[in-house]
Amino acid sequence: MIIQNFNHKMAAHCESGTITSLLNHGGLNITEPLVFGIASGIFFGYFHKMKSFAFPTFIVRNKPGQMRTNIEKRLGVKFQTYDFNNPAKGQQTLDQLLDRNIPTAAQVDFFYMDYVPSWERVHINVHFLAVIGREDNKYIISDAYFPKVVELDAASLEKGRFAGGNMSPKGFIFHLDKLPSDIDYNTAIIKGIKKACFYMLKIPIPFLGIRGMRMFARKVTEWPKFARDTEHLSHEIMKINILLEDQGTGGAGFRFMYATFLQQAADMVGKPGLKELSGELMKIGDGWREISLFSARIGKNRDLGPDKLKQLSEMIYDRADVEERFFKSLSQAIK
């Protein structure tokens, strides 16, 4: 069986895309950028030395799961969530939900999604997709990264849902439980923007927000001392491009998606100034893309001398400066 009328759509990001699909199926006409923006998805964090990471790294969005909880709070929708220690119980619950025609989002390790070409698959424990049916020993999957609905063996889905390691999914699934009769988009959008501005400008933690961006700029020149050799360093430098562009960010570390959110939100909240800020953020995103390109290039060419890392550092400092001005303007625009 396959759940009827589930509209498969590609999305920029797996979590916001999956949440959007579930909301759309439930009857709420909302776009992925609106979900991302209302959920205050835009973020920055730099992690120089942390137990969970073998090498310094950074994030450009809020933590996995937070988009769902923020959307619940701001739109008044309710998702039912489940996690499991026992894979058999996890499968049974999923089957029961599908048998009740309930599209169900699952958190998986992307590596086991074998409908994706092998050269694109990497181990990421926080990939989200929607399971929209089952037939024999296969599940019907709507994966926002894939152009069409696909089938996946039950064994592969189980491996993905119960993969080990950091941020293990533990069979986590969720589905839409309740939609409110009325949604106050104006308040939801303003709250979402205010929180994003707080995260970027005022969060009192030195490695988060704009301060985190400046820490990244300062510390990236120290990366060679963490690397085993040039190969390792080049791999980590090239990962900057992957984190900004390849992992479902919508391009430029989610900056383009947030710009689209502001464009769409401007009319909804009657603040045309947000459209100008949207254009500004698109240009800021172009600067992040220059960083992606520069990192990819110096990493690939193994051209990783101190002068190149200093240049990279200056490019990141520059993004911190323009984003600080941008978020201050955004904060003013919604007063």
Binding site: M10, A11, A12, P117, W119, E120, A144, Y145, P147, M238, N241, I242, E245, D246, G248, T249, G250, G251, A252, F256, M257, T260, M282, G285, D286, R289, E290, S292, L293, A296, R297, G299, K300
Partner: protein, 98 residues
């Protein structure tokens, strides 16, 4: 609907091949040997590119044609072959969305 106006020209396809080859400093390949329809990534085309090359191509398209491919899932489809790039550029010239 595909009309004559949205059918990419052979000139544009050749221009794209040359753009990719100059951007990535690829030498020793005749543009005519690059199959318009074969995948550029992970395939057996004369140009076999990797994911690092993707950002180079996306930026080169933006600089040359003024078209920003913001959405990464769209980018994966757009730059999958010479034909898909040419079609995207032709469509964007008709109806700009980025």
């Amino acid at each position: 609907m595909i009309t004559d106006m949205t059918i990419p020209t052979e000139e544009l396809k050749l221009e794209i091949k040359n753009l990719i080859m100059s951007t990535l400093a690829i030498e020793g390949i005749n543009p005519a040997d690059v199959d318009n329809d074969q995948p550029l990534f992970g395939g057996s085309n004369a140009l076999t590119l990797d994911s690092v090359d993707a950002i180079e191509i996306i930026m080169a398209i933006q600089r040359t044609y003024g078209i920003r491919i913001a959405d990464q899932s769209l980018a994966r489809q757009v730059i999958s072959s010479i034909n898909t790039i040419a079609l995207f550029i032709t469509e964007q010239r008709q109806n700009p969305t980025t």
